[in-house]
C-alpha cells in the first residue's frame, strides 16, 4: 500500500522539525525555539478563528498568564515541572472564566473585548508588587523534570517541539471528531449550527479555553527559556502578530498555523538582519518589520483570503483534478475564509 501524500508530507515536516536544531547555529536555535512557541499559540488561535469563527486580539495575554504562572510558582520555591504543568491549566481556567461573559460577544466586539482584557491584564500586572511591577519577575530557574535540567538552547528546542507536537495532535483529533464538525458549522453560521443541535456556547468556550491553554503552555516554556517575565515581553503587538500569523498561514488548519508562524518569524529575522546592516538608520529594523507586517496582512486578506496553506492545497488539488469539470469556486467565500469569521 502506498502511503498517501498527506502522510508523506506529515513525515517530512516532522523529520525536518526534528533535524533542524542539530543543523542550526546557536543563535538560530534560539530563533527556532521562539518560532515553535509562536506556532503553539498560533495553532490554538487558528482553531478559534477558523472553527469558532472568532478573532482574538488578546491571545498574548494567555501567553503572558502562562509565563507568569510558571515564573511565580518556580520563584516561590516550588518544583519547576509544577510550574510548567500549571501554566496551561491556569491560562485555560482563566479563559474559561472570562469566556463565559466575553463569548457572548462576536466579531469586532469580541476582538475589542479580548484586546481590552490584555490591556487590563498588562496594566494590573505592571502595578502589583507580587508580579514585580514593570520590572517583572527575574531569575526564573531552569526547568527540571525528573532530574533532567533543561539547560541548553537545544534542549528547549526539543521541549518546544514536543509541546507543539502535542498541541498539533490534540488539535487534529478535535478537528476530526464529531465536535469538530459541529465547530465547522459554527464558523459558517452560529444560528444554523445551534438549530442543528450543536451546543454552540459550550463548544465556543471549550475552543477558547483550549486555545488559551496552548498559549499558556508556550508561555510557561518561554519563562523557563528566557529566565524572566515582564509586562514589556507581552505587548499588545504580540497579539496582533499572532493574528497576522494565522491570517498568513490560513485559519483553521494545523499546517496553516505552522506555515504562518514560520514565514513570519523567518521574515522578521531576515528583516532584522537587513535592518541592522551597516549604514542603516537605528530605527530601520522596527520600521521594516512594521511595514512588512502591515503589507503582508493587507495583501493576504485582500488577495488570498484563505491564507497560504489552504490556497496552496487548493491549487494542488485543482491541478491534480485537471480534466475533471472545474468545481472550485475561487470567488465564492470558502467556509474558512476570514470573511466568514462571523460577527
Amino acid at each position: 500500500m502506498k502511503p498517501s501524500p498527506r502522510v508523506l508530507v506529515a513525515a517530512a515536516v516532522c523529520a525536518a522539525a526534528l533535524a533542524a536544531p542539530l543543523l542550526l547555529s546557536e543563535a538560530q536555535v534560539s530563533v527556532y525555539v521562539l518560532l515553535l512557541l509562536a506556532a503553539c499559540v498560533v495553532t490554538g488561535l487558528s482553531m478559534l478563528m477558523g472553527y469558532a469563527g472568532q478573532v482574538s486580539l488578546g491571545q498574548a495575554s494567555f501567553f503572558m498568564v502562562g509565563g507568569y504562572t510558571a515564573a511565580l510558582i518556580t520563584t516561590h520555591g516550588r518544583p519547576s515541572w509544577l510550574g510548567l504543568a500549571a501554566a496551561p491549566l491556569v491560562a485555560a481556567a482563566l479563559a474559561a472564566l472570562i469566556g463565559v461573559p466575553l463569548l457572548r460577544l462576536r466579531g469586532h466586539q469580541l476582538a475589542f473585548a479580548t484586546l481590552a482584557v490584555q490591556l487590563i491584564l498588562l496594566n494590573l500586572v505592571g502595578q502589583q508588587e507580587w508580579t514585580g511591577g514593570d520590572i517583572g519577575l527575574q531569575g526564573v530557574p531552569r526547568l527540571e523534570i525528573a532530574g533532567y535540567e533543561f539547560a541548553t538552547d537545544l534542549s528547549y528546542a526539543y521541549l518546544a517541539l514536543a509541546a507543539l507536537g502535542l498541541i498539533a495532535l490534540i488539535t487534529r483529533n478535535i478537528v476530526a471528531s464529531r465536535p469538530g464538525r459541529g465547530l465547522r458549522a459554527l464558523a459558517t453560521s452560529e444560528v444554523a449550527a445551534a438549530s442543528s443541535g450543536v451546543p454552540v456556547a459550550t463548544y465556543k468556550l471549550a475552543v477558547f479555553s483550549l486555545s488559551a491553554g496552548f498559549a499558556g503552555l508556550a508561555g510557561g516554556i518561554y519563562a523557563f527559556y528566557i529566565g524572566y517575565v515582564a509586562p514589556g515581553s507581552f505587548p499588545v503587538l504580540l497579539s496582533f502578530e499572532y493574528v497576522v500569523m494565522v491570517v498568513v498561514g490560513g485559519a483553521g488548519t494545523v499546517y496553516g498555523a505552522l506555515a504562518g508562524a514560520t514565514v513570519i518569524t523567518l521574515l522578521l529575522q531576515l528583516l532584522n538582519n537587513v535592518g541592522t546592516m551597516e549604514g542603516m538608520p537605528a530605527a530601520a529594523p522596527t520600521v521594516l518589520s512594521y511595514a512588512v507586517y502591515g503589507l503582508l496582512l493587507i495583501l493576504i486578506v485582500l488577495f488570498m483570503p484563505r491564507g497560504l496553506v489552504p490556497s496552496a492545497t487548493g491549487w494542488w488539488e485543482r491541478r491534480a483534478a485537471r480534466g475533471a469539470p472545474a468545481s472550485d469556486e475561487p470567488d465564492a467565500a470558502p467556509v474558512r475564509d476570514l470573511a466568514r469569521t462571523s460577527p
Binding site: E329, D331, A332
Partner: protein, 270 residues
Amino acid sequence: MTPVVPPVVEVGDLVVRYGTATALDRVSLTVGAGELVALVGPNGAGKSSLVNAIMGIVRPASGRVRVSGRVALVPEGRQMFGDLSVDDNLRLGAWRRRGRPGARDTSRVYEVLPELTRVRHQRAGTLSGGQQQMVAFGRALMAEPDVVVVDELSLGLAPMVTAGLAEHLRSLNAGRGLAVLLIEQNARLALDLCGRGYVLEAGRIRAQGSADELARSAEVAAAYLGGPATTAEPGGSGPEGTGPDGTKRGAAKGGGTGPGGAVSGREARP
C-alpha cells in the same frame, strides 16, 4: 407583438452569472415608449438579476442592456430609507438629477400621489406596506423617468391595496406616457394591467406575446394563473378563473378607468 414605438429598454441576449451559476441565459426583451410590459415568473427565475442588470447594479457576463432615457426602480420589498422622512425619501429619488433647478421639489409627487401628503414628515419606516410602496413609486418618479421598473408590486400587500397601486400605475402610464416594466409573481395581476408580457423561467424567456395570448396559453394558465403563484390573491383560486377578455388590455395605454375598475373589482373580492 413587436412594439411599433421606439423601445426605451432593450435587452438583448443578456447573460448574468454569479460564480459558476447562470442566473440569466440569453434573455431578450423590449419595452416601448409609453408601454406597459409584464414580466412574470416564479421565485428564483432570475427576475431580480434582470432588474439589477437593467439598473446597472450587476454587470452582465455578455449581451446588452440599452436604456434610452431615464430609468427608475421601484425595488422589491419597497426598500425604504426607514430612518428618514417620507419627504427625504422622495428627495433622494432625485439624486441622479441633483444640481438641476427644482430637481428636489417633491410637490409634483404629492399631486400624483395625494395620499402621501398627510404623512410627508413621518419616518418612512413607520408607514404601512401600501404607503411604503407608494413612497417607492414617488421616489422613482422624482427621477423624472421615461420608464419605471416595478419589482414585485403586490408582494406582501393586501389585494385591495395592490389594486389601488395598480390603478396609480395605470393612470401614470396613461397620463404621462410613462413606460412600465412590471415584474410580478402574480401573473394575473400583471397580465391584467399590461398589454404585453414575457414569462421568465429558470433564467430563460419561456413565452412572450400579448397579455391575451399569454393568459390564454394553457401552459401559462396552468403554471401561473391557477397555481400557487397566485396565493397573494385570495380571489383567484382555481384554474377556471382565467383572465377576462382582452379588450381591457388593449386599452392599457388609453384611458385606464374602465379596465382599472374591472381589475380592482376582481382584486377586491376576498
